[in-house]
């Protein structure tokens, strides 16, 4: 039976859940103060997070503790923490809940993470569209400073930590971790080549850890209750409790916190969660992990479990846990065109395959939508994808190809029906192969 586990979202419903007073009443910052008081060896904290099995919640799903362990031992350079709150993967709206409803939970995680990796400066990067989230986070930060939880020689521990908010200006690419670094540095936010990895050479050329908001919000819980407790939540290979975002054509949309390992079909059908499809409609497709994941058909949804191994079985991914549910009223050619316009708009333009490929895909799809599609267009789309995927500095083009290719392959008949239909509108300009 699917049920909610309220860890990260435990305080979301409380009045003034974003204020310091209530947070401290619920035991907030106790772990942070205890770590400082006991002068815990940082390596112990890194080991604890590594053993917890926590994986990054931003989309790539890399082990958080392992990432932290890449900071060079004995580095003489300053170490930075950047918190990625650029949340903009279509279908994803979970980090926003943490920022707006429990920002102190994030800040406690920021303190603990900085202590563990030896950082004395943290930048909290938020997309500028999060006006309310920024106000709540900034107010929480001001409260925390006033209460002596951040700053110089915190609580006499000898540990210094400065925490700053930093806003972006509306670019999806800035959620890519090296693009985020360039965005903070005030240059064009083109992703960087790796290696060097940010843990070795990141912000201002110094060792840097970039973690997603939800990832960091997990840290106080793990360090309070221990690695073994976390490792036992949900699926053994991909443990933890996650904020799942459901949007699209279900009766109830929203964010639910559930341990990994539940059945996707149950989330959609259960009256306690999504409550099934809209009246009179049937499930047609699900994009399970934000728009950059491969689409699932109803028979795949029926068997899919929501954890890394379960998604691997149906050849998709959990990504950022943004579940987009589409019913039988959806025109899949139009749906993939919508997504490809997103990627074409958000391509930063640095790499030729992505800069040229994503708008080309859009033109071909527009041609098919307008009734001027050609028999060879499906092969052309797959060929374009083949020339983008894995051929660029960052994963944006890959993220475009996965939904594109899976939708073309799984809904081939729908594309062919449009291509065979008589022309209905003037051919769009510039769509030549």
């Amino acid at each position: 039976m699917i049920r909610e586990t309220k860890l990260l979202s435990a305080r979301f419903g409380q009045p003034q859940s974003w204020a310091l007073e209530g947070f401290r009443k619920d035991g907030g910052y106790e772990t942070w103060l205890k770590v400082l008081k006991d002068k815990r060896p940082p390596a112990e904290l890194v080991a604890e997070v590594k053993a917890s099995g926590l994986k990054g919640r931003g989309g790539a799903g890399f082990s958080t503790g392992t990432k932290w362990s890449f900071i060079p031992k004995g580095t003489t350079k300053p170490v930075y923490l950047c918190v990625n709150g650029d949340e903009s993967e279509p279908g994803t709206f979970k980090d926003r809940q943490i920022l707006e409803l429990d920002p102190h939970q994030l800040l406690e995680g920021v303190g603990l993470t900085c202590y563990a990796i030896g950082a004395h400066t943290a930048y909290l990067y938020l997309r500028c569209e999060f006006a309310l989230g920024l106000r709540r986070l900034q107010a929480a930060l001001d409260e925390a400073y006033k209460a002596g939880l951040f700053g110089k020689n915190i609580q006499g521990s000898g540990f210094d930590l400065e925490v700053h908010t930093h806003i972006g200006a509306g670019a999806y690419i800035c959620g890519e971790e090296t693009s985020l670094l360039n965005s903070i540095e005030g240059v064009r936010p083109y992703p960087r080549n790796k290696p060097p990895f940010p843990a070795v050479e990141g912000l201002f050329g110094c060792p840097t850890i970039i973690n997603n908001v939800e990832t960091i919000a997990n840290i106080p819980h793990i360090l309070k209750r221990g690695a073994a407790w976390h490792a036992a939540l949900g699926n053994k290979e991909d443990p933890g409790s996650r904020l799942w975002c459901v949007s699209g054509h279900v009766k109830r949309r929203g964010v639910w916190e559930i341990e990994t390992g539940f059945r996707l079909a149950e989330l959609i059908d259960s009256p306690d969660f999504c409550g099934g499809m809209r009246p009179g409609r049937k499930l047609k497709a699900v994009i399970p992990g934000g728009s950059s994941s491969r689409v699932l058909l109803p028979d795949e949804v029926a068997v899919a479990t929501m954890d890394a191994p379960g998604m691997k079985q149906v050849n998709s991914s959990l990504g950022s846990a943004g579940i987009i549910v589409l019913d039988d009223s959806t025109d899949m050619v139009d749906a993939v065109l919508n997504l490809m316009r997103f990627y074409a708009h958000e391509s930063c333009g640095q790499c030729t395959p992505c800069r040229e490929g994503t708008p080309w895909v859009v033109k071909v799809l527009e041609r098919i939508m307008s009734g001027h599609g050609r028999a060879e267009d499906l092969d052309l789309l797959l060929d374009l994808a083949d020339n983008m995927e894995g051929r660029t500095v960052c994963a944006l083009a890959d993220g475009a190809c996965w939904p594109l290719v899976s939708i073309v392959q799984k809904f081939r008949a729908e594309f062919l029906a449009k291509i065979r239909a008589p022309a209905r509108a003037a051919a769009p300009a510039g769509a030549g192969a």
Binding site: A131, G186, V187, R188
Partner: protein
């Protein structure tokens, strides 16, 4: 674009330098980073909030303020959708156009606004009151369709509700 070129937006020094009060607030931002240049995006957003947009004079002012060239500022301004290098109306409306909103009434909402305001995507009304833009995913897909008016989020909107919001945005 069919719409008329709007008058530069609000603010007595529109298109020029920000007020002394804002400069006093921005100066400490530079100290947050090892290089002042890193304050670029936060400074540009704050200046834009006061002046409405970031014209060449304003960009030159920011360049001087941060100790960089005007070209370095322009490289950044021209990249981000939420930094405006052309004048906008007094109020800027962003309608989310990405899949979850599009599938739940976003498309209809956008068409409603186009016809109500008499503008197309990116256009500004004749009286300079509203600029209508489409935005990519605003991270509120569970409450689609979603609109930002002057960067504040409005959720689950019907055409009637957005009409009332526009009336309120004098």
């Amino acid at each position: 674009m069919a719409a008329a070129t709007p008058t530069p937006a609000a603010g007595p020094q529109a298109g020029g330098a920000p007020s002394a009060a804002l400069v006093a607030k921005l100066t400490p931002l530079k100290a947050r980073y090892p290089h002042a240049k890193a304050a670029m995006v936060p400074v540009l957003r704050a200046v834009q909030a006061e002046l409405g947009w970031l014209g060449p004079d304003t960009q030159a002012w920011v360049a001087q303020f941060l100790g960089v060239t005007a070209l370095e500022v322009h490289e950044v301004v021209s990249f981000y959708p939420m930094l405006y290098d052309k004048p906008v109306g007094k109020h800027v409306i962003h309608v989310c156009r990405t899949l979850s909103c599009d599938a739940c009434g976003g498309k209809e909402l956008f068409e409603h606004l186009c016809s109500k305001l008499g503008v197309q995507r990116g256009g500004t009304t004749q009286d300079g009151r509203f600029t209508l833009k489409a935005a990519e995913c605003l991270a509120s897909c569970g409450t689609a369709p979603v609109v930002l008016i002057d960067n504040e989020r409005h959720e689950n909107l019907t055409p009637e509700q957005i009409d009332r919001l526009l009336e309120a945005a004098q």
